[in-house]
Symmetry: C2
Subunit: 221 residues, 2 copies
DNA sequence: ATAGTATTCAAGCGATTAGTAGAATACTGA
DNA sequence: TCAGTATTCTACTAATCGCTTGAATACTAT
């Protein structure tokens, strides 16, 4: 009978790792690919020491692994099952925590208007050459892996680099934007801006990590 | 940008619900079906007040719902996505927390010897009438739902009621036992005992909640 | 060696959490 | 109405958690 108790205690250790907003944010960044402690601390707005401590908690919970290269230590999620877990967590929060629905409704009012496109559908259209895929994440994240054929224009440079997207002969070609995940605001923003310019733009239903773990093809460099 | 932070804070609320061993145990029982506060407190070995408090935390995280009937309040998981989340948590713990592997190896040394059978395979064999399915959970849980055609013999009564399983004309008929979930010891025990008697017994890979949420047929009463 | 950099460790604080115990609430049946 | 029962609420304590600060470690380049 103590076996059972021990087992639940170990499961709870993984649960604990998920019980803090900053750790979840770190995990989401790690889901994009390998990152150093310093990068992570910047992006999450935490001190380096604090970030390091969170990362070690995640490591004890078996959710991330690390590798040392020279001075730097690079962390990564330790398997696709971790990304699945994050997805399941998100799903429950979205469906059952009314505050999340409220938040999403408040900040992403245009959510339904953006007509998100499912992964499989996008893949088909890419194969048929019907769409231009736009990756609005920072170049480092794009370099670590992206949807095949996607054009990388970080959100901040979108306005200046519009011509990279447009095909003069076919100005109504559809653009599908994606970013880090289903709640990342980058893609929402991009679609809104493109539409302001009269372009036909939609959003991928989720982000790059989900694309990759779904076993769909990816491209690097 | 505060949107993002708020969102992670809400996800963390769900994570917090998963961060305590007792709450996870309560959730596992709830995954079997509806239960009153008193039942839950008994089975988890907690005081009623404490159980009630845990349940309310789970409710605020949107993981359980409740319904009042007369004096009693019945709790239940608020959707199949919650069961998926528990499964994902278990999967990560099993694959990455070495202590879990150690625990399982120590207490369930026979795990591999029991040749667990996957859900789909069992369903086929049941259809072909090749196996006898044995549900070793308590009668209340059996009544709330079980694998079609399964015989219910709680573990404690197994030795006395062996004849309900055996077919005199075909003593080598295979028996597949299942219980609450992949780490519940009931089915392990049952298989071990049946094998001691020279019977051909195996274990279902996971338990009843997983069977049900996989969309496989269930039977009640 | 030495200086510089990335990360981890250790100690300490305020805030949060798990649990207990006892009172309060809500409902049922006599 | 009143007694009995299931659940929830309200303090309260001990333990844990998140974060900060400053020192320690590990590695690189000069």
């Amino acid at each position: 009978m103590s076996f059972k108790h021990e087992l639940f205690a170990q499961f709870a250790r993984v649960g604990k790792a998920l019980s803090n907003a900053n750790r979840l944010e770190l995990l989401e960044f790690l889901a994009q690919g390998e990152r150093s402690v310093e990068q992570l601390s910047k992006v999450a707005g935490l001190t380096v020491a604090n970030t390091s401590q969170h990362l070690q908690q995640l490591r004890h919970a078996g959710m991330v692994s690390c590798r040392k290269e020279g001075l730097k230590v690079y962390y990564r999620v330790s398997g696709d099952d971790v990304i699945d877990l994050l997805g399941a967590l998100r799903a429950v929060a979205e469906r059952h925590v009314t505050d999340v629905q409220h938040l999403v409704a408040t900040y992403l009012t245009v959510k339904d208007d953006l007509e998100p496109i499912p992964r499989e559908e996008l893949l088909e259209r890419v194969r048929d050459g019907l769409v231009t895929v736009l990756d609005v994440r920072p170049p480092e994240e794009y370099a670590a892996g992206h949807v095949p054929g996607a054009v990388n224009i970080p959100l901040g440079e979108l306005e200046q680099r519009l011509e990279e997207l447009g095909n003069p002969e076919n100005e109504n070609r559809e653009i599908v934007a994606y970013c880090r995940g289903p709640h990342c605001v980058l893609a929402f923003d991009a679609v809104a801006r493109l539409r302001e310019r009269g372009m036909k733009a939609r959003r991928l239903e989720d982000g790059y990590p989900e694309w990759r773990t779904a076993g769909l093809p990816v491209e690097t460099t």
